[in-house]
């Protein structure tokens, strides 16, 4: 029983990171039909930007700010202007391929300009354990969980409570009508790209202390976030959150109770089952069939 509790906490903590990454993924899909196969690499890069800033002599807090700003510039603005905008009108597939190439490019750039070795990364949460209900739970897990949940709640509050959020949703759901009623659709799309960049930078900051900064660390994470987004509902922010938590917990439980060798298979089989029996995702809306 105690084992189960620990597994759940650890699972929720990783799941919260998946949720952060998956939410950005669904935001991009909703506003601009972009499937970003480089999303995992987008999480990998900010940690290296922060490390580079620290190597240049910046203190940790400044490195974090610089890292987040640079991510928003590179992974938000530049990504949208240089890659997505020129390719958007050509359909989903070429753009998806281009983001695969981008993933290769980012990985290689980090390997070449930074290091092929894994680097340690300072944690913003103090290490150590606290006792909850008689269980020793690592502060890091709790910190990650709390920060990720705060970010996600902040985002949903922005989307649902503010006029800006309503404009963003209108732009995502029906750009033509949104334009007619005066929503600056282009600006809203840019905003979602910036929010995605912010979320991946935050995820990077939270997860890198646990798994080290490595140029390949985006691969697994990107895949987990995709699965989370699809399981929860490709077109729903709350779906992505639920999917992320679910996949995180499932992954941890599978490692303990199924087999360590086939641990990665469990979320995959779950994914296939969800797609076949409920293609719109557990919390998603069915998209209209295009003829």
């Amino acid at each position: 029983m105690s084992n189960l509790f620990d597994l759940l906490v650890a699972g929720l903590a990783t799941g919260a990171i998946y949720a952060l990454v998956a939410v950005g993924f669904t935001l991009l899909w909703q506003t601009s039909q972009t499937i970003n196969f480089a999303q995992g690499e987008f999480v990998m890069l900010p940690a290296f930007l922060m490390l580079a800033a620290m190597h240049a002599g910046a203190p940790f807090w400044l490195a974090i700010i610089l890292g987040i700003l640079l991510s928003m510039l590179l992974l938000g603005l530049a990504f949208k202007m240089l890659l997505v905008d020129p390719m958007l009108r050509h359909g989903v597939l070429p753009l998806a391929i281009a983001t695969m190439a981008l993933a290769i490019g980012l990985k290689e750039a980090v390997k070449q300009f930074f290091s092929a070795e894994a680097s340690p990364f300072p944690s913003i949460v103090p290490t150590g354990d606290v006792s909850i209900l008689g269980h020793a739970v690592s502060l890091q897990s709790i910190g990650v969980l709390v920060l990720a949940i705060l970010a996600v709640f902040g985002l949903t509050a922005l989307l649902n409570r503010t006029s800006l959020g309503h404009q963003m949703q209108a732009a995502a759901q029906n750009p033509t009508v949104a334009r007619i009623i005066g929503v600056p659709v282009e600006r809203m799309i840019l905003l979602t790209f910036l929010i995605n960049a912010f979320l991946v930078a935050l995820a990077s900051l939270l997860i890198t202390p646990i798994y080290l900064a490595k140029f390949t660390s985006g691969e697994v994470l990107g895949q987990a976030a995709f699965i989370a987004a699809i399981v929860g509902g490709f077109n729903q922010v709350r779906g992505a959150i639920a999917g992320g938590l679910l996949i995180g917990v499932l992954d941890n439980l599978a490692a303990a109770y199924v087999s360590t060798q086939y641990r990665a298979a469990v979320p995959m089989i779950f994914l296939i089952a969800v797609i076949l029996f409920r293609p719109q995702g557990l919390l998603g809306r069915a998209e209209e069939r295009t003829v």
């Binding site: 499937i35 050509h90 070429p94 390997k111 699965i227 990665a264 995959m268």
Partner: protein
């Protein structure tokens, strides 16, 4: 014009084939390996081009079928079976698995299908890695023999390159025939508009499954050649990134063009080698080249050519129209 273009095309094709036969004769071992790899990957990409380019079904599992073919060939040939028998088994096995993988395509499309096939890819990788009684696990299978073809040993790189090239030629002819047959037309009908295809009496169910099965079978063929080419296989080359690479080859070459996979495989296999003089930067430059190409022409390299030809044709047609019009006016 077309009466003139056809012999020109045939002559150009013959020159390319002759060059592929003659030029590598004085290549070194590594050059021959890379060129053989190109031939093998072109076969796998051709299979994916059938599934994706002609039938319009997105698949991220082609790399898994290359793996299935490679393991079938490796296991059988190390147990003393001849390679042709292994190829037949590889084809049969990937055809059957590809057929089953086609079923999700009957229910879901586009990105959902991409993710089902992606999941399949990962599952296949786990099986290759974990079922060590069969696949040797992470240690893989070594000493995979190269075949004797008509009594000639192909242990040396050059003869085996000809085995790969010959297989590529056979597969190309088969695919060429297939896309010109009613099947090929049914595939294209499926891609252009599934509902209309159905209303015209195309059995969309059967052809969707076929598109997956035949495309996967070609992946199996490529794998069965890949195993003796490298003579050692482990699970790593058949992970998801091979499937992504193959998808990139098809799109970059030009999905739905017969010659697309040849060019795509050339870019994916040879371009990084040519860029090797840049040392650590080569994959980065490759990635930038792919992105640049896709921004410039999302329909791939052959898309550029196609656009150019279409433009010329429109120009020629409007010129003809102008002539006809002026003649009509003088006649009046």
């Amino acid at each position: 014009m077309s009466g003139f273009a056809k012999p020109l095309k045939i002559a150009f094709g013959l020159i390319v084939v002759a060059a592929l036969i003659v030029v590598p004769m004085n290549f070194n071992r590594y050059g021959l390996f890379i060129l053989s790899q190109w031939a093998v990957m072109a076969i796998a990409a051709m299979g994916l081009n059938l599934t994706l380019g002609y039938a319009g079904q997105v698949s991220l599992a082609q790399g898994a079928f290359v793996g299935i073919g490679a393991y079938a060939a490796a296991i059988m040939t190390t147990h003393g079976w001849p390679l042709p028998a292994a190829i037949v088994v590889a084809i049969g096995l990937s055809f059957a698995v590809g057929w089953v993988l086609g079923y999700p395509a009957l229910r879901v499309q586009h990105h959902y299908l991409a993710f089902v096939t992606l999941a399949f890819s990962t599952l296949a990788f786990l099986v290759f890695r974990n079922e060590s009684w069969l696949t040797g696990g992470i240690y893989g299978i070594s000493n995979i023999p190269r075949p004797h073809i008509f009594g000639i040993a192909t242990n040396k790189p050059l003869p085996f390159y000809y085995v790969c090239l010959g297989s590529l030629a056979i597969v190309s002819l088969a695919v060429w025939w297939l896309i010109r047959s009613p099947w090929g037309r049914a595939f294209m009908a499926l891609r252009e508009n599934p509902l209309r295809a159905q209303s015209l009496g195309v059995d969309t169910r059967r052809y969707t499954l076929m598109a997956f099965a035949i495309g996967s079978a070609l992946g199996g063929v490529a794998g069965a050649l890949y195993a003796p080419l490298t003579q050692y296989i482990d699970p790593v080359p058949f992970n998801l990134s091979l499937s992504l690479d193959l998808l990139m080859m098809v799109i970059v070459g030009g999905a739905g063009f017969f010659l697309g996979p040849f060019l795509g495989a050339m870019i994916a296999v040879l371009l990084p080698e040519w860029l090797r003089f840049t040392e650590g930067y080569y994959l980065m430059l490759y990635a930038i080249a792919v992105m640049g190409l896709l921004i410039w022409s999302p329909t791939g390299i052959l898309g550029i050519l196609d656009r150019y030809l279409a433009e010329r044709r429109t120009k020629a047609a409007s010129a003809q129209r102008a002539v006809a019009k002026s003649r009509l006016e003088t006649a009046q």
